[in-house]
């Protein structure tokens, strides 16, 4: 492991790696690693260009998002950018601020990536993922549960980061579900950085003026591009206070595991419109058959961070 900030940047104009896809992008994407795979054509093109204000036959999933039955989508964040997921191979971005602003990538690697994953028939789980002893370990839960904090802290303990916030799972792989690595970056709030003894100096802000930052990992050991078998999922629950009679960690029986994972499918409403509910539910069964699913309760403060990390490592090792 080496410096956490600073860049793994692609050579100018070079193709990039994202979830196993070869990406060609007009937009600078400094968090992605260079493509070092075969000489295939690009799987995904990200262009800067104009976007229609209304997609044909679109329905509004939210005030920010239009989707069509053809699996196109248009996301609009006023003052930041509009995004058009035009096909499973093409994303058009229309920036409303400097094209190299991190704000633009915040939504590109959020909702837009999640919808692309649905388009490509894979499962986006709301989770960060870490490679521990060759096993894929997903840390899932709603925003604020502590996914990114735990993933960053585990990376700093020498495990490789697989993804942050969106865990792209391929349940069709021979040999069971695998996670496709995304890029070596996590998003952390000021309080999480401080809990790890890090400062925010020199880090890009997730949004202009927001105290949530991009923390990039640049060491060769911090990130690998090969898919990793998913062997454990921790469903995080953050709570203000200690409750008695409740185990900190609990292995879930199959039904509770299925229910817990089903709650954490990323961009679930659009997925349902796209008719994916049935296949995603089946995929969850495959995940639960192959991986141990735990419920992990943590305090909202970071007083117990070290013991949580050891708890995760111990359960994965056993």
């Amino acid at each position: 492991m080496s410096a956490e900030s600073g860049g793994v940047t692609a050579s100018p104009g070079g193709d990039l790696f994202l979830c196993g896809w070869r990406v060609r992008s007009d937009l600078a994407l400094p968090e992605l690693t260079p493509w070092i795979g075969d000489d295939r054509e690009a799987d995904l093109t990200i262009r800067i260009g104009a976007i229609p204000s209304r997609l044909d036959d679109a329905r509004d999933v939210s005030p920010l998002l239009q989707v069509t039955s053809q699996k196109q989508a248009r996301l609009s964040i006023d003052g930041v950018a509009s995004y058009w997921l035009r096909s499973s191979h093409e994303i058009v971005v229309d920036p409303q601020m400097a094209a190299d602003s991190p704000d633009i990538r915040t939504f590109l690697f959020g909702t837009v990536l999640g919808l692309l994953v649905h388009c490509r028939g894979l499962m986006p789980l709301h989770a960060s993922c870490i490679r521990i002893g060759g096993k894929g370990v997903a840390i899932s839960g709603m925003s604020g549960a502590g996914k990114s904090t735990l993933a960053a802290a585990l990376t700093r303990r020498g495990h490789a980061l697989v993804s942050d916030d969106i865990c792209v799972i391929d349940t069709g792989a021979a040999g069971g579900p695998v996670v496709r690595p995304a890029f070596p970056r996590v998003k952390l709030w000021q309080d999480s950085l401080e809990a790890m003894g890090l400062g925010s100096d020199g880090l890009e802000a997730n949004r202009f003026g927001q105290r949530k930052y991009y923390l990039r990992f640049a060491g060769a050991a911090d990130f690998h591009t090969e898919p990793v078998s998913l062997k454990a999922v921790f469903l995080l629950r953050a709570q203000n206070v200690a409750l008695s009679g409740q185990a900190e960690i609990q292995k879930l029986p199959p039904m509770a595991a299925v229910a817990g994972l089903n709650d954490q499918i990323y961009r679930k409403r659009t997925a349902a419109i796209w008719g994916r509910e049935g296949e995603l539910f089946q995929a969850i069964g495959q995940i639960v058959s192959a991986a141990d699913v735990y419920r992990l309760s943590r305090r909202t403060d970071f007083s117990e961070l070290d013991s949580l990390l050891r708890c995760i490592e111990d359960h994965v090792a056993s």
Binding site: P254, M255, A257, V258, A259, N262, E277, G278, F281, Q282, A283, I284, G285, Q286, V288, S289
Partner: protein, 94 residues
């Protein structure tokens, strides 16, 4: 809606449900109710047979042919499961 089923009723999987298998056993969810239902090995066998509509009687016969046990007891067990699946809107009756 009657609380029990008759042997002449035809049963089939409901339209609005999700199903998945964990280690060979089914876990179901009714989309309307949002409730999960886990089936054991025998329940999962019944669920597989419900892929096509059939009468309760035919189902009970098939189960009796495949499992050892008292015929009346098997019929009672099948009926109990079907009633529970119906109440969770996971099967369609009629």
């Amino acid at each position: 809606m009657p609380s029990t089923l008759s042997l002449t009723d035809t049963v089939s999987r409901a339209q609005k449900h999700l199903a998945t298998e964990v280690d060979g056993n089914f876990i179901l969810m009714s989309i309307e109710g949002g409730v999960y239902c886990g089936l054991d090995e025998i329940g999962s066998d019944i669920w597989r047979r419900l892929a096509r509509p059939l009468t309760v009687e035919a189902l009970c016969q098939a189960m009796a042919a495949n499992y050892r046990g008292d015929r009346e007891q098997i019929t009672a067990d099948v009926l109990e499961l079907l009633v529970s699946l119906r109440d969770q809107r996971l099967i369609h009756v009629g």
